[in-house]
């Protein structure tokens, strides 16, 4: 096998799925870090985002790329509402109850998508897009845009967290919630902001998953464990960790078929997850160990 083949058929697809996982994992890692629980409805939130974009494409005849930011905004709003209705009242109770609640929300979101959009697999645009060669590198514009948008969103988020007042407040909450409160940081506002970001990025993850393959109502749930693995691999609370974790999981999944039967492709993420929990639970970037 030539090096180019390895890059075109294993590395590039790995990086594409990796950036999709990363977008989901960022939300998971922020929620884990700031609100301190595992959010099991995250995958289905991504599904919802993807279908909202589909709805916009279908009903308003928008280009998918125009629908994306709108879908992100809508999903962000949904995330804030879900938090308000289903999670907020559990704030003072053991976190595990919130985890349970998120499982229930996952089921509810999925059945809403099934009822509204049906269970047939759907696509944003029909037809085949053949790759163009960039000096032997086979790439499609949608893949370039996926990668570029994911990178852009991540850089934007990192700059936001690093340089803005509310970004710092989020980091402070993640770092030391008690102290953040003593500094006068409004808990509720940070929680809302976290959900806005997590919801928007989940929608982006779902959208890119949909545009690179097809949309189906189980798509988010199927990617959830890979996203969790990415978040934990990178280090809980670490945005840069979630990105690296996502890319690693994506790559390893694709490369695994070189040595394993394809049926075990999904298992590679779980194996990495369990190994990292055993060997280095703080993750690559020294995240929190909850």
């Amino acid at each position: 096998m030539s090096g180019l083949e390895l890059i075109n058929f294993y590395v590039i697809p790995g990086l594409i799925s990796g950036s999709i996982y990363a977008l989901g994992a960022i939300g998971i890692t922020l929620i884990f870090g700031i609100l301190r629980y595992a959010h099991f409805a995250h995958g289905d939130m991504a599904t919802l985002g993807a279908y909202v974009a589909l709805g916009l494409v279908g009903s308003l005849a928008l280009s998918p790329w125009v629908a994306l930011p709108i879908a992100m905004a809508i999903t962000a709003l949904v995330a804030v509402v879900l938090d308000r209705v289903f999670y907020r009242h559990l704030e003072t109770r053991p976190k595990i109850l919130t985890v349970m609640a998120s499982l229930g929300v996952a089921l509810m979101l999925r059945s809403v998508v099934q009822v509204v959009w049906g269970v047939d697999p759907q696509v944003y645009s029909t037809g085949i897009v053949r790759a163009e060669s960039y000096g032997g590198l086979m790439l499609r514009s949608r893949e370039l845009i996926t990668f570029a948008t994911a990178t852009g969103l991540v850089l934007f988020l990192m700059a936001f967290l690093r340089y803005t007042r509310w970004g710092k407040a989020m980091r402070a909450m993640s770092d030391n919630p008690e102290l953040a409160r003593l500094c006068g940081v409004n808990n509720e506002a940070v929680t809302r902001l976290t959900w806005v970001i997590a919801g928007a990025l989940a929608a982006a993850a779902g959208f890119f998953l949909g545009i690179n393959t097809e949309l189906n109502t189980m798509m988010g749930w199927s990617a959830l464990l890979a996203m969790f693995a990415a978040a934990i691999l990178g280090g809980v609370g670490r945005v840069e960790g979630a990105v690296v974790g996502g890319l690693v999981i994506g790559l390893v999944e694709e490369l695994s078929v070189l040595v394993l039967p394809s049926q075990y492709k999904m298992a590679t993420a779980f194996v990495i997850l369990i190994l990292i929990l055993l060997v280095r639970p703080q993750g690559i970037f020294k995240g929190k160990v909850l």
């Binding site: 096998m1 083949e5 075109n8 058929f9 294993y10 590039i12 697809p13 790995g14 594409i16 799925s17 999709i20 099934q114 049906g118 269970v119 047939d120 697999p121 696509v123 029909t126 037809g127 085949i128 897009v129 053949r130 790759a131 086979m138 499609r140 998953l209 690179n212 393959t213 097809e214 189906n216 109502t217 189980m218 798509m219 199927s222 990617a223 999944e253 694709e254 490369l255 078929v257 070189l258 039967p261 394809s262 049926q263 492709k265 999904m266």
Partner: protein, 398 residues
């Protein structure tokens, strides 16, 4: 003991609608689709096809009276399916069931519910060879052939068409694996070469590395045993987009019109599928016409087998005059030769012949359904290509 009374009176306490008894006992058919779960995407078309058959039967006004039907969700899951089957048999009071859709669900449901209760089951989509070997008291039938037949027929057809070297990819479930193994056995026995033989799981975002692996060994043809509305579509798309393989061959699961719409007909010039057909080609056309009129895609996966399963159940009910004990026998009588040929939609004719005590022989949209001793259909198949937004027969398969 009389298993249950034919008259079902009010069950108001359970929230059930009271039904009054007519001159004839009502016939009841349970439609058991995989509405939730892994094949949820196929269920709506399957259920709609079943309903189409039963609605036609009711419109024709059969002697047994109106056939009442109700949907049950077998979820492609044994717990859900047994629960649904129990309700179908005991609460709804089904005389017969169409389904369950998935082999695993069917095995559990028939073993623990319908066979002991003596209820006839005709599945349109459970393809596992394990169903053949069931000790089923002649109560389990299917209108879809066991994977074995189709896989072998496809292998012979490809060799006949001069394809000697293929790579095989299959979805890792009983459908994909069953077909793949039958295909492999026959293809290799008849001198073909299989360069790669790989299973995969559904719902991954990328199958490009799988395809790169499959391409190793230099086969030009990919045989893809999967569903056209699941990972099958993703794999086909990614293969075409990346220039893997020159020719693609699928089985009936891949025959999906939505696939043509999604990927574009121009891109599917080298895509072929096998699917069961009746020996008289007109049968499918009759079904297709009715289906299109009802707004259904006749080529949707398992739509034709679903229609046939429901139609056969209705005909058997008519022939048995609603006597549940005689249903299996009646089913064999209406489905198999000898008898006057009945095509999909010819309810009036069937009704009249049965009333006169004559034999009929149903020729279905998806095959002739000449049941063997095990309740399986041998299936006759044709090889299809994509043309005009649908699938056109290229040749018969032997």
């Amino acid at each position: 003991m009389t298993y249950r009374s034919q008259l079902v009176a009010s069950l108001a306490a359970a929230g059930l609608i009271a039904t009054s008894s007519a001159a004839f006992a009502e016939a009841k058919v349970a439609l058991m689709g995989g509405i939730t779960g892994p094949i949820a995407g196929m269920a709506p078309a399957m259920i709609a096809s079943m309903k189409l058959a039963l609605d036609q039967a009711n419109a024709a006004g059969l002697a047994i009276g109106k056939i009442t039907y109700q949907e049950f969700d077998c979820g492609c899951n044994p717990q859900v399916a047994t629960d649904a089957a129990t309700k179908a048999v005991n609460v709804f009071g089904a005389d017969a069931a169409v389904g369950p859709a998935c082999s695993g669900a069917l095995l559990a449901a028939v073993n623990s519910v319908t066979i002991p209760a003596g209820v006839l089951v005709v599945s349109p989509s459970a393809t596992s060879p394990k169903i053949t070997d069931l000790d089923d008291k002649d109560l389990v039938f299917r209108t879809v052939p066991s994977d074995d037949f189709q896989g072998r027929a496809l292998a012979r057809t490809l060799l006949e068409r001069g394809v000697k070297k293929v790579a095989v990819a299959y979805i890792n479930n009983d459908y994909g694996k069953g077909l793949a193994e039958a295909f492999k056995a026959e293809f290799e026995a008849k001198g073909g070469t299989i360069t790669q033989f790989r299973g995969h799981e559904d719902k991954k975002a990328s199958y490009r590395s799988d395809l790169a692996e499959l391409a190793k060994g230099g086969a030009d043809t990919l045989v893809l045993f999967d569903y056209g509305n699941a990972s099958g579509m993703t794999i086909l798309r990614q293969a075409i987009e990346n220039g893997f393989f020159k020719q693609f061959v699928g089985a009936d699961g891949m025959r999906d019109e939505n696939l043509i719409k999604t990927l574009g007909e121009a891109n599917l010039k080298h895509f072929f599928v096998s699917a069961p057909v009746g020996e008289a080609g007109a049968a499918f056309e009759k079904f297709a016409e009715a289906a299109r009129k009802a707004g259904l895609d006749p080529n949707a996966t398992f739509a034709a087998t679903s229609y046939d399963a429901a139609a056969l159940v209705a005909l058997a009910l008519e022939a048995a005059k609603g006597d549940k004990a005689k249903l299996p026998q009646a089913l064999r009588a209406v489905a198999t030769a000898p008898g006057e040929r009945i095509y999909p939609g010819e309810w009036e004719k069937a009704k009249q012949l049965l009333a006169e005590g004559k034999e009929i022989d149903y020729k279905g949209a998806s095959g002739d359904h000449e049941f063997d001793a095990k309740g399986d259909v041998p299936g006759s198949y044709a090889f299809f290509k994509v043309e005009g937004g649908t699938y056109k027969e290229v040749q018969k398969m032997k």
